[in-house]
Symmetry: C2
């Protein structure tokens, strides 16, 4: 019952949502302000950054989702509205109130996301002048929204899946400051399936934990991480297992897009840790490998330097049940440690690919975990050294 | 009573040590094999990596230091002899035995350090052929040893201090795979002061914790981290407080040299966290800032992007007493958060320096910590992507 997307045009959008994506002039001439609004009330769930410098968008949205209901998501891009003190909080509330006015709903039905530079206030004059006149369209505008939430992304990220009569669409942005904690970057899902708020919350947390919480571009956790889902029920009930499977599928594809589009990235790195004591150990070791700058630069240079993978596993010094004599390491399907005399041609082919799989067998148990990341290139340094505040 | 080094030639070496630094052909034509040996037995102390992939050099040295006594330190550079299984263990023991034979002392009096590529065996044939014929010299050869232990270091690192009649000399190597845990990279100290093994151990652990354990180049912890001190007593007793002060001074200067010479580094970053709940919190926040790739690239680009410092503090999400409304951030002596309208000329001058100081006032207590790191440049990526195993 779960169909994968075959092309952007072959699958419908979820029914009962209106959208807009406009330029307000937050920073430049690109679209920077978008709304997705449901015609009827939705059940909703969200997970957010645990950063101690979380912005007012995160605080406000967390509060508005506490009752498991929402109507709309508004996103301001090119400005995170973070670390702006009381002014930032008031500005976020005013933007939400303007959108609520536009949609004739309560402010507590509006979720707000904000992404971009930290420590600079919104251009409130421009927002006050433009927002009240915005018209939402019933035409499918998810692609335009996916574009409007971008910052340094090189392309927009959008995936769809069908579950019975219902459709789920997911969008995401974010290519730097990415090591999500409870959630990640900005990612939104909209569906016309009918799902109770408690079920939706449980499914959403499980899915985000297995997908977006398993990606890291640069170990830096955003102050604005927000993942939100709205279900408006227009298409009626669906099988919950099918729904979770479809949502996992979309979220995993978006996650890999985020890793592959990581700032300066030229390769996707997938690290699979098997035979671990428990999932926590597996994920910890996998993260240590995928986040190691020396592993990342080796992958960038197509160098099968498995010694750096060993080093990264070794960093997990609290995991005292890991015995270096029992660990096994593979690049792609080529065993490199221990006692390996790998076929160098096959190994070169693996390292030359644009997706590099690193598998670690820990021999401490039977749990496993899979995480995604990207290589570290001169491009990452240039993007972030030349970025001027 | 503690004199700082004013120039390499103005200060004596500690008495009663002989040295050698030769080329064995471990990898290329540079000096790659060195010994420092005391004429008489020494009290000794050491701290080592906690890596689960620690090499046999670390295992062996830890065992040999258990009784607080040693005679010599041998270092093989350009090959770490890590992850080589039983063969690696046997090879390390054989090298130690050869050096013990050369010095006519017990193998358990020899400490061994090894640094370089992981997963490649020592060229034992060449070692067996060359080591037994090596002659040690009583001439001060610490500079030659400091050079022989280098790998990708751009220059050797050596510092001296006098304490009463005694002298301490310290050397260090290491510019990548550096986020020490219990110890760091390779760093050795030799002194002719007379100090009991228990006192020496206590002093050494405190000093390393405040210096080498406060540096990070790239968050990657070496499999070979070893810090060792030998005191041969030739110069007689010294005041222990003076000794600790002098040792701290040398260790801190070596630590800053390591950070400044970090792979690809163009700037030293010093992060000071004050008014923290306790030292653990202060060091955790300071490490989060100094290790953030986005902070490191901003410093590389001379960009006073304090939003990234706020983000890095925010990553310490378990530190729930940190309140973003009470935190203060300075670059150099220029306040940038909160409510700051910094003098942009002064701020530019701070960012253009080759040492950038970032101060964070947490307002959760009265503890503080100081850590060192370096910027992240294209150079780091090139060195580590082009390094071929």
């Amino acid at each position: 019952l779960v169909k994968r997307k075959v092309g952007a045009d072959t699958m419908k959008d979820p029914r009962g949502f209106r959208t807009c994506a406009v330029n307000i002039g937050i920073k430049d001439e690109t679209t920077d302000f978008s709304i997705v609004a449901s015609d009827r009330p939705c059940t909703a769930a969200g997970v957010f950054t645990k950063s101690r410098f979380a912005g007012p968008s995160v605080e406000l949205s967390r509060r508005h989702l506490a009752d498991g209901r929402a109507r709309a998501v508004v996103t301001v891009s090119k400005n995170a509205n973070v670390a702006n003190g009381d002014r930032g909080r008031k500005d976020a509330e005013e933007v939400v109130a303007m959108v609520a006015g536009l949609l004739s709903c309560g402010p507590d039905e509006v979720i707000i996301g904000s992404t971009g530079v930290i420590g600079r206030p919104y251009p409130m004059d421009r927002l006050r002048e433009r927002v009240p006149g915005i018209a939402l369209s019933a035409e499918a505008g998810f692609e335009a929204v996916a574009k409007a939430i971008m910052t340094t992304d090189t392309h927009h990220k959008l995936e769809r899946a069908e579950v019975g009569d219902a459709v789920i669409v997911g969008i995401a942005k974010g290519v730097g400051m990415i090591e999500p904690d409870m959630a990640t970057l900005l990612t939104y899902f909209f569906t016309d399936a009918e799902i109770g708020a408690a079920d939706l919350d449980g499914i959403f947390r499980r899915v985000i934990d297995r997908t977006f919480n398993c990606v890291s571009v640069d170990t830096d956790t955003s102050t604005s991480d927000s993942a939100v889902i709205l279900a408006n029920g227009t298409a009626g009930e669906v099988d919950l297992d099918d729904f979770e499977k479809a949502l996992t599928d979309i979220a995993e594809r978006l996650t890999k897009q985020v890793a592959r589009d990581g700032e300066g990235a030229t390769k996707l790195i997938e690290v699979v840790v098997t035979h671990a004591r428990d999932e926590t150990q597996a994920k910890k070791v996998a993260k240590a490998v995928v986040n190691s700058p020396l592993v990342k630069t080796a992958v960038h240079g197509c160098d099968p330097n498995w010694g750096r993978v060993a080093m990264a596993i070794g960093k997990c010094s609290d995991e005292t049940d890991i015995d270096q004599r029992r660990v096994e390491i593979e690049f792609g399907d080529v065993k490199v440690y221990p006692d390996a005399e790998p076929d160098l041609d096959r190994l070169s082919a693996v390292m030359a690919g644009d997706e590099v799989l690193i598998t670690v067998r820990l021999a401490t148990g039977s749990a496993s975990a899979r995480v995604w990341g990207c290589d570290l290139s001169d491009g990452y340094v240039r993007i972030n050294a030349d970025y001027t505040t």
